[in-house]
């Protein structure tokens, strides 16, 4: 699985890279517009270690943000599945808040929380939280009639049991959403770092952009892709274990 993810990423990366080189050499563009192979190689050798540490820093924040958003989305999703007014209110609020662009909200977060870890964490969580929440609300508010009917008719149904039944019946869907939102957590953290943080690969990309240094950005993109792929593989592996465990139960 790891190999498949990595080589898929490498294929996409190098197709994009080759296209860039094709444009550079066919239009005879200078190294300022698109860096040469030798410049990219020199940059890679010089910044690989530094950028790898920055990507690991970003990934660790992204993982924390992802966990935070899964917890938040689960709690809010459980309340949001209710058909009474609070459930309806939470669903509407979730749709509305999702419409706000994070770049507009982020400066407010940084004013309130500063430019440290908490802001990066919150923005990462916010970006991957809403797709998660909507999916979790969708899953938890959809009755599994054939099973629930039995417990309802025997008057043994309570909210915990209802959540368990609906989550159990939609395990595959939930795992897919969680894996899918992991990339959003990574993107969210990078955006947060780009806007205001003082660490992480988003911050390094920002400095590289100030210096119009596309070679650094290409190295950063490579490392982001590799590290995100590894995280996704880990989540997929976790999903398989959970499914196996549920299957055996």
């Amino acid at each position: 699985m790891l190999h498949r993810r990595i080589y898929q990423f490498l294929m996409i990366y190098f197709i994009g890279f080759a296209a860039l080189m094709l444009v550079k050499y066919s239009l005879n563009l200078s190294d300022y517009v698109i860096p040469s192979l030798s410049e990219i190689w020199i940059t890679c050798r010089r910044y690989f270690g530094l950028y790898l540490l920055a990507v690991i820093n970003t990934l660790s924040v992204a993982i924390l943000g992802h966990i935070l958003s899964i917890c938040m989305a689960t709690v809010v999703g459980i309340i949001g599945r209710l058909t009474i007014w609070i459930g309806s209110f939470i669903r509407v609020a979730a749709y509305n808040i999702q419409a706000y662009p994070i770049v507009a909200v982020a400066p407010i977060i940084f004013i309130l929380l500063g430019d440290g870890l908490s802001s990066r964490l919150l923005i990462a969580a916010m970006i991957c939280y809403f797709p998660l929440l909507l999916s979790i609300i969708g899953v938890l508010s959809e009755p599994v009639t054939e099973i629930e009917h039995f417990f309802e008719s025997t008057r043994r149904m309570n909210w915990k049991l209802q959540v368990k039944i609906r989550a159990f019946e939609n395990t595959h869907k939930l795992i897919t959403v969680i894996v899918g939102s992991a990339t959003l957590a990574m993107v969210g953290t990078i955006v947060a770092e780009f806007i205001a943080a003082n660490a992480g690969i988003g911050y390094s990309i920002r400095i590289a952009l100030y210096q119009s240094d596309l070679a650094k950005i290409l190295v950063a993109l490579f490392l982001i892709g590799i590290c995100t792929s590894v995280y996704l593989v880990f989540l997929e592996w976790l999903g398989i274990i959970i499914k196996r465990h549920i299957g055996s139960v």
Binding site: L27, L29, S30, D31, Y32, V33, P35, E39, P107, F110, I111, D115, I195, A196, N198, Y203, R206, I207, A208, L209, Y210, Q211, S212
Partner: protein, 335 residues
């Protein structure tokens, strides 16, 4: 039959001569305008007032040009657009130009807009009395890592023999809160665009402010200049000349105190978010930065400042080797 043919030939020849004569007599304005793209460095604000003036007053069209003045922004790079052929003229800072040329970009500088770099540092003189550069020691100074201000501040510290360990360099972004809270003593900003806004806020809070101008301390990093490609200059010199003539006339008129109201109205037309009072202050500050003296010829290229910019970049290893910047300076209008 022969007579008929003769008549046909004569009438065709007469018609052709008439058409040629009429075409020659057609007024100049009816000739189609030559279309060019001009990429600015930043969004529409006071720093592009002259560009907008030249456009709005019809100066470009009077010179036979249809100029698409396109706003810039953080992700827009005029030099890259010139190389890709998306624009024929652009605005770039000296460090951008030198960096690009060091990587083989075929660009030249045809006019210099700012004579004094607008990048200054704001501070509270009551809390941070700054009399000499040595007073910087022990202060918390805001810089944007990778930005122009970092280059200027590092050059300033090096010039006055201040070790970086003797100051606290604080990484800044758009949010001024650390400065308002007093966590940072000096904050970088653009004197003509941001200083009137931030200054007004400080004054409203009953605080005094002052600005540290690096050029007064001997660091003259060149800011915005007009650039084009070497090919454009060689192959379409007449277009370049017409463009620069119209542009510089636009700037000269926009900064003329007699045209203050017109220039302010123009900025407000393109940028409705900034209050008129602030734009008025911004215009006055821009005039000082672009026209240091009354009879100053707008657009003059300051070769010494360009050379100093290159020296600073070389010393800070922002470029690997010297590019001999004076070779890139191609003033269209000889002063």
């Amino acid at each position: 039959m022969q007579r008929y043919l003769f008549h046909q030939i004569v009438s065709a020849a007469v018609s052709m001569i008439l058409v040629l004569i009429l075409a020659g007599c057609a007024p100049e304005a009816e000739k189609p305008l030559e279309e060019v793209n001009y990429r600015l460095k930043w969004l529409y604000n006071i720093s592009v007032v002259g560009d907008l003036y030249a456009l709005d007053s019809g100066l470009f069209s009077k010179h036979g040009l249809a100029v698409n003045v396109k706003p810039g922004g953080p992700e827009k790079d005029a030099i890259k657009e010139l190389e890709l052929g998306h624009a024929q003229f652009g605005v770039a800072s000296a460090d951008q130009v030198i960096r690009a040329v060091s990587k083989g970009s075929p660009i030249v500088v045809i006019a210099q807009l700012f004579q004094i770099n607008p990048l200054h540092w704001i501070f509270r003189p009551d809390k941070t009395p700054l009399k000499t550069p040595q007073d910087l020691k022990g202060l918390t100074i805001g810089i944007t890592h990778g930005g122009n201000d970092e280059t200027i501040m590092r050059a300033l510290l090096a010039k006055y023999g201040i070790q970086e360990s003797e100051v606290n360099l604080f990484s800044v972004r758009y949010d001024y809160t650390p400065f308002y809270q007093g966590k940072v003593d000096l904050w970088p900003l653009y004197r003509n665009a941001q200083a009137p806004i931030i200054g007004a806020k400080l004054q409203k809070a009953g605080e005094r402010f002052d600005l540290m101008d690096p050029s007064r301390l001997g660091i003259r990093l060149v800011a915005n200049s007009v650039v084009t490609t070497r090919k454009m200059l060689e192959e379409r010199r007449e277009t370049v000349e017409k463009f620069i003539e119209a542009l510089l006339q636009g700037w000269q008129e926009a900064l003329d105190p007699a045209n203050t109201d017109k220039a302010i109205d123009l900025v407000l037309k393109y940028n409705k978010e900034t209050p008129e009072e602030i734009v008025r202050q911004q215009l006055a500050a821009t005039r000082v930065l672009m026209m240091p003296s009354a009879n100053f010829e707008f657009g003059t290229i300051d070769t010494a400042a360009w050379q100093q910019t290159e020296d600073i970049m070389l010393a800070q290893k922002l470029i690997p080797v010297r590019v001999y910047v004076e070779k890139l300076l191609k003033p269209i209008k000889e002063w």
